[in-house]
C-alpha cells in the first residue's frame, strides 16, 4: 500500500526534491564503485598494475564462487560471525553492566577511574598474544580478545552518558520518592536509548578488530585466518576475497543495528 502524502504543492515539491536528491546520491555512489572496479580490472588485465600484488575483480569473484561451491567460505564466515556476535554481546552487555555499577557507586567509579584510563589508552591488540597464552588458542581465546577490545570503550562511554543525565530530572524522581533502581530504569537508561544504539554501532567495528587480530594470531579457520593464510602463501586473491567478505558482513551487521534503531524509534513514538 502506498502512503498518500498530503500537503501544499510547495511541500510536495520539497519532499520530491529531497527524494530526488537521495536517489541521485545513491546513483553516484553505485557508479563510482562500478567505475573503480572496471578501472581496476582493465588496469590489471593490460598490465598497468601488477595483478600478482593487487589481484583483480574477476579473479576475486571466480575465487569466491569456488569457495561458495565447495562450502569453504561458509565455514570461515560462520566461525568469524559466531566469534563476533559472542564478543559483541558479551562486550556490550558486560560493559553496560559495569558502567551501571560505576554509576551506582560513586566511590567505585573513583577507584576504577585511573585503571580504566590506562586500559583505554592501551592498544588492546597488544594484549592479544598474552590472552591467547592465558585462555588458549581457541575460539574462546579469540572471543576474549574481542571482548577486551570493545568493553573498555563501552564502560567509559556508557558511564559518561549515565552521569550527564540532568541532575534536576534526578531531583524530580527523588521528589517522587524514587529508589535508585527506579531512577536507573525509568530515567537513566531510557534517556540514553539512542546513545546505547550508537555504542552498539561503534562496538561492531571494535569487535571485528578483536576477532580478526585474534584469528591472525591463533586460528585454523575464520576470515582473519583466510587473510593471513593468503598473505603467507602470496595468494593475494584470497586476501582480497577475505577483505571483501569482511566488508559485506560488517555492513550487514551495521544495517541490522540501523533497523533495530528504526524499530525502537517507531515503537517509542507509537501512539496508543
Amino acid at each position: 500500500m502506498k502512503k498518500e502524502t498530503k500537503g501544499s504543492p510547495g511541500y510536495l515539491t520539497y519532499l520530491k526534491n529531497i527524494k530526488k536528491e537521495s536517489r541521485h546520491i545513491l546513483w553516484i555512489q553505485l557508479l563510482s564503485c562500478v567505475i573503480f572496479l572496471i578501472f581496476w580490472e582493465v588496469a590489471a588485465t593490460l598490465g598497468w598494475i601488477d595483478d600478482f600484488f593487487v589481484s583483480k575483480p574477476s579473479a576475486i569473484w571466480t575465487l569466491l564462487i569456488k569457495y561458495i561451491e565447495n562450502g569453504e567460505i561458509f565455514r570461515h564466515v560462520g566461525i568469524s560471525l559466531l566469534e563476533t556476535l559472542a564478543g559483541l554481546a558479551i562486550g556490550t552487555i558486560g560493559g553496560l553492566f559495569i558502567a551501571i555499577c560505576l554509576w551506582w557507586s560513586d566511590k567505585l567509579a573513583r577507584i576504577f577511574d585511573p585503571f580504566l584510563v590506562v586500559l583505554n589508552a592501551l592498544p588492546k591488540t597488544a594484549l592479544a598474544p598474552i590472552l591467547i597464552v592465558w585462555v588458549g588458542a581457541s575460539m574462546k581465546g579469540i572471543i576474549v580478545i574481542a571482548v577486551i577490545t570493545s568493553i573498555t570503550v563501552t564502560i567509559m562511554s556508557a558511564y559518561s552518558y549515565f552521569i550527564t543525565v540532568d541532575p534536576d530530572k534526578i531531583k524530580l524522581m527523588q521528589s517522587f520518592g524514587a529508589t535508585k533502581w527506579q531512577i536507573l530504569t525509568k530515567l537513566v537508561l531510557p534517556a540514553n536509548g539512542i546513545n546505547m544504539i550508537n555504542l552498539l554501532k561503534i562496538n561492531i567495528g571494535m569487535t571485528w578488530v578483536g576477532v580478526i587480530v585474534g584469528e591472525f594470531i591463533a586460528s585454523k579457520a575464520g576470515i582473519g585466518y583466510l587473510i593471513v593464510y593468503g598473505g603467507q602463501v602470496f595468494k593475494l586473491n584470497v586476501v582480497m576475497m577475505g577483505v571483501f567478505v569482511l566488508a559485506i558482513f560488517t555492513l550487514i551487521m551495521y544495517q541490522g543495528v540501523n533497523l533495530l534503531e528504526i524499530y525502537l524509534r517507531k515503537k517509542q513514538s507509537a501512539k496508543k
Binding site: D168, M173, K186, P190
Partner: protein, 252 residues
C-alpha cells in the same frame, strides 16, 4: 486557619574543599492552609535551597521543619518532562513510582487534563506541545499525587513574557481551584505581588528573611495575576519591595 508548614531556625552551610559557605541563616516562616507564599529574593540567594529543604531533598545544617504530615509536591524551574514518554505517561510517572496508579487516580488525571485543556494531547510527546502547555502538563504531573503543599521554583522563568502571563494566570487558577497551599519562589517583583497572599523578602547571602508583607489589592471581580497588575496598590508594593531589595544590595 491553622499552619500547614513551619520552618524554625533553619541554617544551611555548603562545604567544599576550599571553603565552607553559609547560605541560609536563621530562616523562620509559617504557611497557612490555602495561602500562597512568595519568597522574593535576588538570584543565587538560596531560594531553591529552601525549597529543596522543605521537599526533604536536602538536610538543613540545623533547625527544624514541621510539615504537619502534609504531602508535598515540587514543580521545578523547567518542566522536566521526559521526552521519551507521552504526556499521559509523564503525568503518571509519580504515581507509577509510588505504585499508586489505580482507577481512582486515572479518573483524577482525566479530570485535570480535561479542565486544563490537555486531554486531546495526552498521547502526544512533549516536543509536540507549546511551552505553556508543557508547564501545565508539569503542574498536572505534580497535582496527580494530590499534594497538600505545592512548591514552585521559578516555574515560569523559561517562558517568553506573554506565555508567562497566561501560564501564571492558569496556574494561579489551578492552585486556587484545587484548594492548594503554595510556596513560590521568584526574583521577579511584579510576579510576586500579582500571585501572592504573602510575600517574604530575602536578603543577600547568608540569607535571612528581611521582611514579610501581606498583599491586599483592590480588584473588581475575581482576582487573577493579570488583573492584579492593574490594582491601584500594585505600584506602591512594587516601590516598597524594590527599595528593600535595593537597600540590601547596598549594605553588601
Amino acid at each position: 486557619m491553622s499552619n500547614i508548614l513551619d520552618m524554625n531556625h533553619i541554617y544551611k552551610d555548603f562545604y567544599s574543599l576550599d571553603e565552607e559557605r553559609q547560605i541560609l541563616k536563621d530562616i523562620n516562616f509559617s504557611v497557612k492552609e490555602g495561602e500562597i507564599l512568595v519568597l522574593l529574593g535576588p538570584s543565587g540567594c538560596g531560594k531553591s535551597t529552601i525549597l529543596n529543604i522543605i521537599a526533604g531533598l536536602l538536610e538543613p545544617t540545623s533547625g527544624s521543619i514541621n510539615t504537619h504530615g502534609k504531602k508535598i509536591g515540587y514543580m521545578f524551574q523547567k518542566d522536566q518532562l521526559f521526552e521519551w514518554r507521552t504526556i499521559m505517561k509523564n503525568i503518571t510517572l509519580g504515581l507509577e513510582i509510588q505504585h499508586k496508579l489505580n482507577d481512582e487516580a486515572q479518573d483524577e488525571i482525566k479530570r485535570l487534563l480535561q479542565i486544563y485543556d490537555l486531554w486531546d494531547f495526552r498521547n502526544n510527546f512533549p516536543r509536540e506541545l507549546s511551552g505553556g502547555m508543557k508547564q501545565r502538563a508539569a503542574l498536572i504531573r505534580t497535582l496527580a499525587l494530590n499534594p497538600d503543599i505545592l512548591l514552585l521554583d521559578e516555574s515560569f522563568s523559561g517562558l517568553d513574557f506573554q506565555t508567562r502571563l497566561t501560564v501564571t494566570d492558569d496556574i494561579y487558577k489551578i492552585i486556587k481551584n484545587e484548594n492548594k497551599t503554595a510556596i513560590l519562589v521568584t526574583h521577579d517583583i511584579s510576579e510576586a505581588i500579582s500571585l501572592a497572599d504573602t510575600v517574604a523578602i530575602l536578603s543577600h547571602r547568608p540569607t535571612t528573611i528581611q521582611s514579610v508583607h501581606q498583599i491586599h489589592l483592590t480588584i473588581d471581580g475575581e482576582k487573577t495575576p493579570f488583573n492584579a497588575r492593574t490594582a491601584p496598590e500594585f505600584q506602591d508594593y512594587f516601590d516598597l519591595f524594590w527599595k528593600e531589595l535595593q537597600n540590601d544590595e547596598e549594605r553588601n
